[in-house]
Every structure is written in C-alpha cells, then in structure tokens.
C-alpha cells in the first residue's frame, strides 16, 4: 500500500517558510535571524531528505515577514535558501537570498590578532567577492574566506 504524501513540518496559515537550509546551518540561521527571541509560533525540521542538496532543514515562522535586508543576512550560511511567503495557506511570493555587500555583526574575523577578537567591537566586513566568498575586515583589513568563516 502506498503511503500518503505527508508534510514533515506542518503548514502555516500565514508567515514565512525558509526552505533548502543546509541541515548543518539550521541553528546558525535561527541565531542570525534571532528566531530564539521572538514570541511567534515556529516549527522546524532538520535532516530531511533533499533531492538536490543532501540533508536539508526547513523553518516555518508564523506571522513574520522579513525585509530583504534582514533575510540576506543568512546568505553566508544558507546560500541556496528559498523563501516562500504564505498567506491563507497559499504561497503568494517566492524569494531567494543574496549575499549583501557588507556584513555586520554576523561573522568573526579569522585574524587572531584583530581588535574584534580582543574587545567588544561589532565586526564589519566588506564583501569583496561573493563567489567564492571573501570578506575584508573593516578593522584589520585581512580577508576571511568561506573555509575560515565562523558565525558569531
């Protein structure tokens, strides 16, 4: 007997669905978007099978609609993330994320001798290359690449 198709994470009436998050980046996305600090109903699933990307995660946030500027902050950890904007259980808009030109307070500078690793300084980077990713520290001017990227 064939199993009926089921949703791993139940549908929301209205809000934002963030799909195609690499499973390993789920909690980073939660942290970057500060989802742990909002009162809205949030459901998520992780280690789900993806046809294209191995293990993926999905987050459904009821009643929240993000500004592009905010959602692009997750591009560093979930470059292939896709957003579905939901109203009345229907997808009314789809969005993809884009690496912004500047990165503020998300990434750590890989230079152990950088002031941002010594004092309470908000990190700031200029994105000098989006693919492959290369971030130039506003303070020490050293380059942090994807391999050495660490999310604060």
């Amino acid at each position: 007997m064939k199993e009926p198709k089921q949703l791993s994470v139940s549908a929301i009436e209205s809000g934002t669905v963030i799909d195609h998050i690499p499973a390993s980046s789920l909690f980073k996305v939660i942290k970057i978007l500060r989802l742990d600090c909002i009162p809205n109903q949030i459901t998520f699933g992780t280690n789900l099978e993806s046809k294209t990307d191995g293990k993926k995660a999905i987050i459904k946030i009821a009643g929240v609609f993000f500004e592009n500027e905010d959602i692009n902050r997750i591009a560093l950890v979930a470059p292939k993330a896709k957003l579905n904007i939901i109203k009345d259980y229907e997808v009314i808009e789809k969005k993809v994320v884009e690496v912004p030109d500047t990165i503020v307070s998300i990434a750590r500078c890989m230079n152990p001798k950088c002031i941002t690793n010594f004092e309470k300084v908000t990190t700031r980077f200029k994105v000098i290359s989006k693919k492959p990713l290369a971030l130039k520290c506003h303070y020490c001017e050293k380059i942090t690449d994807q391999e050495r990227l660490e999310i604060i």
Binding site: K113, I115, C140, E141
Partner: protein, 302 residues
C-alpha cells in the same frame, strides 16, 4: 581633511597625498613655526617604537605644541586591564590629537571610531603605518623630482613587510614599475601582484639583487628576519644574498637612492653610507617634516 583620522594610506585621495607632500616641502624649508600653541598631542605607544615616537614628538615640538603620553603600555593603566575603548575615550578628552602605536591589528580604525579627536595610526600590528608611507613618498618625490614613471626595486622581506605593501599600494596610483627581490620564502604575496596586474602595471621578480640595481631609481631595502623562516638552514643560505655593498653600486644610475625604513641590522653594509646613493638617514629626517604636514592637515591648521 580637518578632524579626520589617518588610519590607512587608502583613506587619502591622490590630491590629499599631493597636498601633504607639498606641505612637507614647506616645513623642510621652514621647520620651526608656532602653529600649535596651546595644543596637546598625545603619543600612546602600547608597544615601543623609539624612532617613530621621537619623530612625532620632534614634529610637535617644532610646531610649538605640547606632548603627553606613554612609551610602553607596561607603565600605563592598560596593565590594569583597561580596554582600548576606555583609554581612547579618556585621552581624547585630554588631547587635541592622538598618535597611536598598538600591536593589535585594526586597533587604530577602532580608536578612530570611538575618539572625539583625530587619530594618527603610527602602526597597528602588521596592518598599516601610513605616516611611514608618506615619508617614503616624500623622499622619493624629493630625490626624483616626480612620483611618475619610476622604477622601484623592493628588496628583502616582501611577504611580511608592511612598509613595502603600503608603498606598493600608494605608488600604484602612478605609472610605477616594480622589481621584487626576495628569497623564495619571502616573496611578494600574490594578492599584490594581482592588484598590479589589474591596473596594468609592470613588475619583475628575481632572487638576484645585483642584476637589477642598475635599472632602479629607488632601491627600497628591508630587513630579512631570521624568525620568518620555517627552516633555519634556508635562512643561513639566503641571509647574505640580500645585503647591499658599495661595489654593487658601480653601475647604478647617478640619481638612484637607497631607502630603508630603519632600523637596519646588516642588510646595508656601512661602506654604502658615504656614497651619494645612501639616503636612509635623510629619509628618517624627512619623517619629521612629513609628520608636521600630517598633523597640521588633520588639525585643519594648514
């Protein structure tokens, strides 16, 4: 430029660089001028640097200003655990300008963001040292009469040398051709060569110093430090290959000048000192005029 800080040479436009160099020339002709009466300049040296500090203090004194500060963080409240943020907030209420040397990279940029008065970066770790670059450029301009179409030969530690990287970036604004002379382990990093490629500027790399001296307008010497080598045998092999001797200058252009940020150890033999090509001590003297020009520019006095 009034009330702006000088953290990196890239903070300056080409016009601003030209203006500072011109002003440095005026201070060379007339170095003692009462332009800073009642002004206080703080020199905060979180790590010692005798040459740079004395040069700044000499510049302030010649302008009639007063200097406060410390020469080593072991004698300041930093040893009690004070943050840079607090130190700068405090000192910027005591002084009209802060000159700062700090071992941590990016510290000067951060200080410029929390200070209410201009900051001059006198070296932040391996990152930037823009007043050195400006005095190097002043020395080049003064001896060559131009900054354009020169052949600059950089010798020694081109991998870690902060002064050569800044000078390369600054001189690449003009039509400069570069020659890099370094041992294999200390070659100019690819990112700088790529930068020159993108600008269409010419450079030539070699490990042999004697072959390139005759074509150079400027020979910029740096120290090859033993601690930079992973293999001490490698250091022993190359340590004498990057030492300049008098007889190597036989075929040099008459106007060629040898620069060195100092201190030197053995990379320029003392028999070079009396030759007309030796310029490193005059270069150090030029640092005072250049710093006078920078201080007055940032305070909006000139």
């Amino acid at each position: 430029m009034k009330n702006r800080s000088l953290v990196s040479i890239d903070d300056l436009t080409t016009d601003e660089i030209n203006r500072i160099l011109k002003l440095a020339g005026e201070f060379e002709k007339n170095p003692v001028q009462e332009l800073l009466p009642g002004k206080v300049v703080a020199t905060l040296f979180f790590e010692p640097s005798t040459r740079t500090r004395l040069s700044f203090e000499s510049a302030v004194n010649k302008l009639g200003g007063k200097v406060i500060g410390f020469t080593d963080s072991s004698t300041s409240s930093v040893t009690k655990g004070e943050t840079l943020y607090d130190t700068i907030r405090m000192v910027s209420s005591y002084a009209d300008l802060i000159v700062m040397r700090h071992p941590i990279e990016g510290s000067a940029r951060y200080a410029s963001e929390v200070s209410s008065v201009p900051i001059i970066n006198a070296g932040d770790g391996a990152n930037q040292h823009p007043t050195q670059t400006l005095l190097d450029m002043y020395s080049i301009l003064k001896t060559q009469g131009t900054l354009d179409k020169l052949n600059i030969c950089m010798v020694g530690d081109l991998k870690y040398g902060r002064t050569v990287h800044s000078l390369l970036m600054a001189m690449s604004r003009w039509n400069t051709s570069f020659t890099f002379v370094a041992p294999e382990e200390l070659r100019m990093p690819d990112e700088y060569k790529l930068y020159l490629d993108n600008l269409g500027l010419k450079y030539h790399e070699t490990a042999d110093l004697s072959e390139v001296i005759n074509h150079a307008d400027i020979v910029y010497m740096t120290r090859v430090q033993k601690e930079r080598f992973s293999d001490p045998i490698e250091y022993e092999k190359v340590k004498n290959a990057y030492v300049l001797h008098k007889e190597m200058l036989m075929g040099a252009k008459p106007g060629m000048k040898i620069l060195h940020p100092l201190p030197r150890v053995n990379e320029i033999n003392t028999d070079v000192d009396p030759t007309p090509n030796a310029y490193y001590f005059t270069q150090a003297k030029n640092g005072v005029y250049t710093r006078q020009a920078i201080i007055c520019t940032l305070l909006g006095i000139k």
